[in-house]
Symmetry: D3
Subunit: 247 residues, 6 copies
């Protein structure tokens, strides 16, 4: 069964998109074709609530205009921008990096810790864990105090994340480490070795769960939360969004 998956790098940085495209392909099934794209507009990293709103809209626009062409969608950003909005406009499965990594961490150990980039993200991430219904599985959220822009300094990234992961295992009794951001791709082996516990990468977990849903026929439920709302055209403004909206 051919599996045609679109991964939307929700920030507007084509360098990251290419970086992801090159590295994610080795994780796909033989029958899977993965395409990574990014919006033309929006932040180059999702660091603020405003970034999250803009990246969410831009991701939604891409999913909307590609609804028929792909079998599943992965929002390739650790903050899952636009996740609920995308699920509302399609019956195809839509996966977020954070949620996927947390779910895949569950069968491997009692509780997981998330390693975040900055301390200010901790309440944001805690709210996300609660929103996904997984508060009882959370050991802790630890941070490395690096900005998104600095994450390409791979040596420092790995060193800091290993340090945080080791503390999470020792002090918070984490049994699995969850890495939500797509730029963590490629660090998992060193972090797992340093911490002594399995590491779940959001970008890989989301991809693999998308493949599962395609092969077993899993679709987004339209019962309540993600039901599409029939509306008269009330959207004022850009034609482009009107089209997304009216679909």
């Amino acid at each position: 069964m051919n599996k045609n998956i679109l991964m939307i790098n929700s920030n507007s940085n084509p360098i990251t998109t290419n970086w992801l495209q090159e590295r994610i392909e080795k994780f796909v099934d033989p029958e899977t074709k993965i395409t990574v794209v990014n919006p033309d507009f929006g932040p180059q990293g999702v660091d603020t609530y405003m970034d999250w709103l803009i990246a969410g809209i831009e991701t939604l626009k891409i999913v909307s205009s590609n609804k028929e062409k792909y079998d599943a969608f992965v929002i390739g950003c650790g903050s899952d921008p636009g996740l609920d909005a995308c699920r509302q406009i399609t019956t195809k499965p839509v996966l977020g990096l954070s949620e996927s990594a947390m779910l895949m961490a569950c069968p491997l150990g009692n509780k997981f810790s998330i390693i975040s980039t900055r301390e200010t993200q901790i309440p944001v991430l805690e709210q996300r864990v609660i929103q996904y219904g997984l508060r009882d599985k959370l050991a802790s959220i630890r941070y490395i105090q690096m900005t998104t822009a600095d994450l390409m300094n791979r040596e420092e990234l790995i060193k800091n994340t290993c340090e945080a992961a080791k503390i999470a295992v020792k002090k918070d009794r984490a049994e699995v480490i969850v890495l939500t951001g797509s730029l963590m791709l490629g660090t998992e082996k060193e972090i797992s070795e340093a911490s002594g516990v399995p590491v779940m990468l959001g970008v890989v977990c989301a991809l693999k769960m998308a493949e599962i849903y395609i092969s077993i026929g899993g679709t987004t439920s339209k019962a309540y939360k993600y039901q599409q709302v029939k509306k008269k055209d009330q959207l004022i403004g850009y034609q482009e969004l009107r089209e997304v909206y009216s679909i």
Copy 2:
């Protein structure tokens, strides 16, 4: 002390804005000046996750460009679009209708019920209650199955809401009724009489809480969640948003 409050009707419908401006003024303190505005762009009612994202961005833009001119901001929409984003860009207090009504309901009775417009909104509202940390205060969420567009049919609106409120009191043991949407303004007296319990209106509660914060000097905390992130200019696209972003 003069209190200068900006209420952003997050949808793009100037009719609602005017309707709100006229009716909200009787609730203000003598020293308060309230100004209701709306974005030029975006949905005329916030019914979907996409509406919520767009209305959030538009609300944020208005708050951003008025940061210096007002003492507090009220997001005049029952879905609190852009609430976290707005709080992140200012130290002034920013109030949402949903959160304010729920908080003001707490001292009046044991648990509250929210009356929603449509059944599909129930999981959305439940998540919002959880996000605000108030799950232990929630008796139930009931609905009236009307679209935003129909809410100006006031007779039907009141009849349906009274019916839902009565059931919430009798079956779910609600002791207070919470009405989040701004268009519920003016229905509170009849619903309170019909249900026999106090009714908290989001739009009024948010306004009055804003006045309190101005008079006692309450500001948005910048410790973690709402800390402003210093970023290099990474935003690609429209100049307008770049300005919001760089502030």
Copy 3:
């Protein structure tokens, strides 16, 4: 609209009552008249469960005999003695310092910490937070190890509270500081500056919420928890209490 509010300093110390009367007036609306009173009988500080019971009864007696004369009641003691009992005998709003400060802290930041006087109060306060349905909003409870009697040593009080607040922000990631006791009035500015986060004072928040309820017509719900029970006269003993009771 004239707002006539009675604040009951639940302990029997008239010095505190006068101290409060002098300092609280600057927080009222122009139309508000606030009167602070205290019972003749009972503890001079609410430090034990027995104090709480006695202060509760005495507060109830004062509310009962003033039911018609005031528009709202504030129980001017950080332990909220008699709060439920007072709400049960009137439809007027009755505010407690603890509950009010916690609720007003919610829109200003993700989680709040409470600074208590003594370590032994921590489980007592934790139970109160849970009872008010706000456990998800609590960052921590910190203490300064001072007795109620020592709180008039203002320099030491401020120094210790600043220290505790700073630790709460740094270690427990509190974004707002909640001060429940009425004697904390006047310390808020220094504590906010030292900790870098907003401070919510129970005695001010309760007063301002009372003003809101008067202006928007908020009443205590009589649906279930606070329903007045019609009883045959079963009370044996002092005439005074019989009268409270039979009302």
Copy 4:
């Protein structure tokens, strides 16, 4: 080992006290001596929050003046008035009817239902269950809509309670029925037969737990919550309470 237990019927009705004394004796160990007493003052039934405060103080006074004479104390009232206050003034074990029955219900089945007298008591009881840390064990709270005064109509009491218990088992999947009030003594057999599940009576469970603590040396912890507070004499008023207080 002789076990000398004082049961305080917290209401002021000596008829109930005698009724209890006669019926409770068949449940004691051969070495136990149980004495049931009641205060001279206070309500004849604990139906309101005010009743609860007064009965709590009166119970505390009795425990205080008998601290040396008994090995354990049972507060013989389903609302556990003064429970925390009594525990704070003695190291002897102090048992409440509600808490004891709920705890003893736990090993007998998955979840328990409480049968209350009136619907308005449901939020009160729910708060009590939460305060005792047992919310995960609660199937439901059902009620029979009878006043305390009517409970001596035994036929009606049993008929109504059997009906409520059967519904709790069938609809709420209760596996054990908890009866908190002391006047339920003697109804347990019929309710158990009608509902088909075990019934835990507060007054019996509290007595038996008290016997256990005496025989195994269980004392009230003085670590934090129930630590006695050393205070300078600050209590203004009746000599009697001053003595309680200063102990």
Copy 5:
């Protein structure tokens, strides 16, 4: 990458084993080889706690003696017998049907309902959901009142499950249906059509998650819960178990 998976049908019924082997193969990846086996000893259906203990031990013995030969293990029984025990003796991933189906249901909708065979299983299943940390995702547990032995009456099974699923969607607002038992294989299409929401089958989800872990290198964490305990040989009895134990 070849994926060699052992599925242990935890009951001792070879008919079910063959039935499963035939039907599960169409769900595997091209590179996966799945082998279904069953113990010689034990119950033919896991209906009681005793069944669960015996099936758990028997499953553990099979996993233990095949530790080197397979890349992952699926416990092919809806009650996940021996799940923790198996995870403790291997670093290979071990999947249970219940846990896998619940996790895979999460990204497809807000909350899921589980359809159980008998009403008495409801508390058992509820405890399992809590143990897996997923209580916030549970809409309800519904039942069809059929014994394990009757499940081969496929027409009745499908009719009853469709009925229960429809009620779960309508009354409990389930957005996804979770079917834990392996014998539900083949009913999913009809149940999904009848209920209008996606259906997650435990036996398929566990298999697909096992494939993921093999391909991405997911192992069972040995940090705390599943750490193997080094013990001196203390096991008294059958040689066979001694060997399991000493590994």
Copy 6:
């Protein structure tokens, strides 16, 4: 009333059994006869999930073959192996050490800490606390890092446990210490003195609760969770288990 209680030391070590028999007798009521037995087969200490399964089955077999001869059963092992299974095959009360000690700790203080043997047991114990519905009563789980085999080194056992208990009181604000393992018998006095708080011993609490249930007629509920399932004989294998099963 004669009370005939069977305590099953779930491990196969007769030395422990004799040790327990000698020491437990001083805790029984005059009318109680306690008999301690152990299985011939199984682990000599319950340290792993496999141990727990085997010890559970062996305990179940002993309870099953003694169902008529005793009035109540105590599973004399801190891990409560086979607790649910035993409750399912009898209406007599069945007590576990862990659950009993936690319940008896509740009326003595706000929260309890459990002192475990090894750090890896912490997630196991946490799950047990959650399963028993007592998560809100848990202050912490501390450990002494000793193996079951070493527990007979009493001096070290007491020294380590005192140390852990003191930290639990000071850092985690435990008000009661819970000791679940039967081998802790005899250490309680020293640990209570060192920590300054009451200590609840599982083996004593379970025995005393069993005596209560016998004297007040408390039986295991058969409503749902512990209902005996009528099955056709489907058990394949050892005659012995078939007999347990068919009862």
